[in-house]
């Protein structure tokens, strides 16, 4: 069985400060990892994905994430946030069996 844990339900951060949103997963098989962003009253958009290869993945809007197999983590980072980054962020894990699991989400609020 697979599961995804997002440890922080809410993260407030000042504008231009760095941010890290944490994600841990559990799985007994190879996993594929994703981060999605949901802006208010919109659907989910893919930020970045890890399928294989380099463990440091770069996505849109200046975000990046690092796959750490030993710690079963896939934390999302951005060195300097903007007001427009205020949104809900979801970590997700998939497998070749067409199963897909989302975390409970982290609400990022950027404070001016």
């Amino acid at each position: 069985a697979q599961s995804v844990t997002q440890l922080d339900s809410q993260v407030p951060v000042f504008e231009e400060a760095p941010v890290e949103l944490r994600c841990n997963y559990s799985s007994s098989v190879s996993v594929y990892l994703f981060w999605y962003v949901q802006y208010p009253n919109q659907g989910l958009q893919l930020l970045l994905k890890y399928l294989s290869g380099s463990t440091l993945v770069k996505g849109i809007n200046g975000f990046e994430a690092e796959f750490n197999k030993s710690q079963t983590s896939f934390h999302l980072r951005k060195p300097s946030v903007h007001i427009s980054d205020t949104a809900e962020y979801f970590c997700a894990v998939g497998n070749t069996g067409n199963q897909f699991y989302f975390g409970t989400g982290t609400s990022l609020t950027v404070i001016p």
Binding site: Y32, L44, L46, L51, E88, G94, N98, T104
Partner: protein
């Protein structure tokens, strides 16, 4: 061109009614999903279809019935609507569990 489109965008109806939400994708994906997002932003998978066949059927009331006439469409029919059905319902599609999902903009269902 919209990749995953859902209709209607808003649905306001009374308890006890029957309603349907339609979803279409033009990405050529084989797998489609329905999710329910509650007021706390928690995303719960309801159903998944692969090439018109049901592959994931999570614990949802049997008042919810998905229908896939072809692999580009996955509709959701809900009988005898209840207050607790109020939520945002998202349709998504992908090439499989090891690939990112593409989401529609959601259908906001409100039960009076």
């Amino acid at each position: 061109d919209t990749a995953v489109s859902q209709t209607p965008k808003y649905l306001v109806t009374q308890m006890g009614n029957d309603k349907s939400i339609k979803c279409e994708q033009n990405l050529g994906h084989d797998t489609m999903y329905w999710y329910k997002q509650d007021s706390k932003k928690f995303l719960k998978i309801m159903f998944s279809y692969n090439n018109k066949e049901l592959i994931i059927n999570e614990t949802v009331p049997n008042r919810f019935s998905p229908k896939s006439p072809d692999k580009a469409h996955l509709n959701l029919h809900i009988n005898s609507l209840e207050l607790g059905d109020s939520a945002v319902y998202f349709c998504a599609s992908s090439r499989g569990g090891n690939q990112p999902q593409h989401f529609g903009d959601g259908t906001r269902l409100s039960i009076l």
